[in-house]
């Protein structure tokens, strides 16, 4: 059959890494947007909305991403909603990411002192104005390091999409292992590629955190 050189293996993995990056980016951007919406609903002064979002977060933080993927991919179509691997991966990763980000960001919103709410309230600002001009800008600053830190989890989370046949780095690794019988080499390389993607993110999260602590 075909012979894979080391370069074949590496180049295929790197090519597949594009999809890992793309998936991560989609998950992060869509999850971020959804996360903001969940966050706003989660901290809104409306009990039912708060409760609903609490359940949403509990649900997606309390079940494996793998199961979420399976349900979106295999189970939703039975109810008439078509899902390709792309949409399934994007949808599941978005839901998963939004739940975690909303929870991280809620912590940041709550870290904004109560006095800020009260001062802006006594300036006759509405809830929306308080959020928009006073609380979110401050929360945003606090939120940068943990958000960058969480992006590492998103990148790693994309590995699970290999199981629904999505050919990103992990899946490519599995396929190549089967064609080459060199699991040690291939999975070692796969691990290194993830490390190369994630470690800079981890480092910058740490650096940002230090900077934030010094600035305070």
């Amino acid at each position: 059959m075909y012979n894979f050189t080391l370069w074949d293996i590496l180049s295929n993995l790197l090519l597949a890494a594009r999809w890992t990056v793309l998936l991560s980016a989609i998950a992060f951007v869509c999850g971020g947007i959804a996360g903001v919406l969940v966050l706003l609903a989660r901290v809104a002064p409306l009990r039912p909305l708060q409760t609903a979002m609490k359940l949403y977060i509990e649900l997606f933080q309390g079940t494996p991403l793998l199961m979420q993927l399976f349900i979106v991919f295999f189970a939703l179509p039975l109810t008439g909603i078509e899902t390709s691997p792309w949409t399934a991966a994007a949808v599941a990763l978005t839901l998963f990411t939004s739940a975690y980000l909303a929870e991280i960001w809620r912590g940041c919103v709550e870290a904004v002192p109560r006095g800020q709410w009260e001062a802006s309230a006594s300036l006759a600002m509405s809830y929306g104005e308080q959020m928009r001009y006073v609380v979110l800008p401050q929360a945003l600053r606090i939120a940068v390091p943990p958000t960058v830190g969480f992006s590492v989890q998103v990148v790693k989370g994309t590995a699970v999409t290999s199981i629904i046949g999505f050919v990103e780095v992990t899946k490519a690794g599995t396929m190549i292992t089967n064609a080459t019988f060199q699991p040690f080499l291939v999975y070692g390389l796969v691990g290194l590629i993830y490390f190369a993607l994630c470690y800079p993110l981890s480092l910058s999260a740490k650096a940002l955190e230090r900077k934030l602590n010094v600035a305070r």
């Binding site: 349900i71 295999f74 039975l78 999975y187 993830y194 994630c198």
Partner: protein, 223 residues
Amino acid sequence: MAYRFDFSSLADYTPVLVQGVATTVGLTLIGGVLGVGIGIAGAAARSSGNAPVRFAVGSYVELIRNTPFLVQLFFIFFGLPSLGVRLPEWQAAVLAMVINLGAYATEIIRAGIDATPKGQIEAGASLGMTGPQIFRYIILGPAMGKIWPALTSQIIIVMLGSSVCSQIAVEELSFAANFIQSRNFRPFEVYFLATALYLALAIALRWLLARLGDRMFRGGARV
């Protein structure tokens, strides 16, 4: 396409599900206990050991935290045998979970240790206590109490992450789900049920660990 839900066909597979849940719980228990143990040792080494030890522990933590669990699992199960280390699947799964949780726990517990006021350590020292005694009796308890919620979340993440162990034929809960749907062709019902079971496990585990934390670190919580 109108779909008729039919959970009845799952009844035949109750033993498979029960065994799946039991395996998931077992993996989490062993992985959790050993992982936290590694975390404590790692944190101790990282905050007191000599430079090479600190570097080694630091590298371990970063390596694990920046690669996916699935890849770690494959590496251990499929990759290590080429070095002559052949582990049966459940041992490989436990090892992967322990290594994974150990790295996160090291980082979490270290944060708790760093939060120990310097004066506490000096007070211990001025009473004639040795370094290890200070760590064991003064630092560890309050540090664990402080970071227990974070550790709880991480243990739950590892429990949920164990779902990918089905990939190396460990017969845990998601294995059971896949197994059943490949026999009865009812993915919606099966995955729905399995997801609900995971959620129940996560909630139960969080509750249990909270109780456990209250019990073990009751004093430490009052700071």
